[in-house]
């Protein structure tokens, strides 16, 4: 599984990355978590409100920092 955290690198993006890793840990899942700061790629997903979460190429969530328990639902 490949997970991408989209965002220019502000605090919310770091928080989303941390919450995602926590969710993976709680699920005992292995996945690569990539931080995407390149604007071209972020805009390619049509995202204007960061941070956003992409799982296996599919945009799951944007403009918020959900809790780990909520991120789990995006992962399974």
């Amino acid at each position: 599984m490949e997970i991408k955290v989209l965002g220019p690198g502000c605090k919310n993006c770091t928080n989303l990355e941390a919450n995602t890793k926590k969710a993976l840990e709680e699920l005992n899942m292995e996945a690569t978590v990539l931080k995407v700061t390149d604007m071209k790629e972020i805009m390619g997903y049509g995202v204007m409100s960061t941070p956003a979460l992409v799982v296996d190429g599919k945009l799951k969530m944007m403009g918020r920092v959900p809790k780990p328990s909520e991120i789990k639902e995006y992962l399974v």
Binding site: K11, M39, K40, I42, M43, G44, M48, S49, L59, P66
Partner: protein, 335 residues
Amino acid sequence: MLDFLNGIWSVFTSILKFEWLYDLVAALVENVFKLSMDTNLGSSVHFFIYDVIKILMLLSIMIFLISYIRSYFPPERTKKILENFSGIKGNIMASLLGTVTPFCSCSSVPIFIGFVESGIPLGVTFSFLITSPLINQGAIIVLLAAFGWKVAALYIAMGVIIGIIGGIVIGKFNLEGEVEGYVYEMSMGEVEIETLTRKERAKFALEEVTKIVKHVWLYLLIGIGLGAAIHGWAPADILTKYAGPDNPFAVLVGVAVGIPLYADVIGTIPIAEALISKGMGMGTALSFMMAVAALSLPAMILLRKVIKPKLLTIFVAITSFGIITVGYLFNFLLH
């Protein structure tokens, strides 16, 4: 029946005015801390406790309500709406939507690219970018708490007008060449705007409350602390002389100080409230707060990624000019 309604109304307004809290804290200061309200220390301690409780309560309730409304206007939808308007109507819509679209300065770059890429004129984009940080939801709430709804409404109206006019002026200059070239080469993906349930909107609103309170509480405490000190000790006669509404340079100085100041606008409001009570002009204080909100250095560094220095300078100049005008207008109207 009328008596009954009047009764309810007076209870409602006294809750909103927080007179009950004022009296409660006054009793606490006088009876528990054994400080007289007539001393500098007593009135400062009272101001601090009263303001912290009042502002945190108002902030939480109002951010929840406003965020609930804002959940209907994600930037992706705002963009779709704006694509349908051209000319001055576009500037007006962009400025109005700037007041309701959730905005954090780190989203300004993707929003700018998204707008420009989908063919929204540069001037319309700037109407949005000027109004959005000015009408900061936290700032409006604290303004409401400190100065009442009339000043808050005037602030919003002025913010919207500055955005409309600023955008129109930038649009007239034909500055498309002053946007970084790569912005035009981007291709924007299509995104499905999710329809949220009522529960999801409430959750979004609750998250916003925690996020904003977590972000601002320290600024707020520092601001209220300084405000309390000003309240107790600042000499009113000197402030009135140098920062009062009759000093024509006070507004200019306020804006010049506000631009480089890296503070959260919410923290500056209690300071402004205290300064005004000591004789500073209302317009001077408001333009100072607007400068802090709209023209912070970090926000400009982010914008520099998408626009060249010339356009950035024009943006700062026009916004500053608008803010200064509002300062003089408020000083003239309210004193």
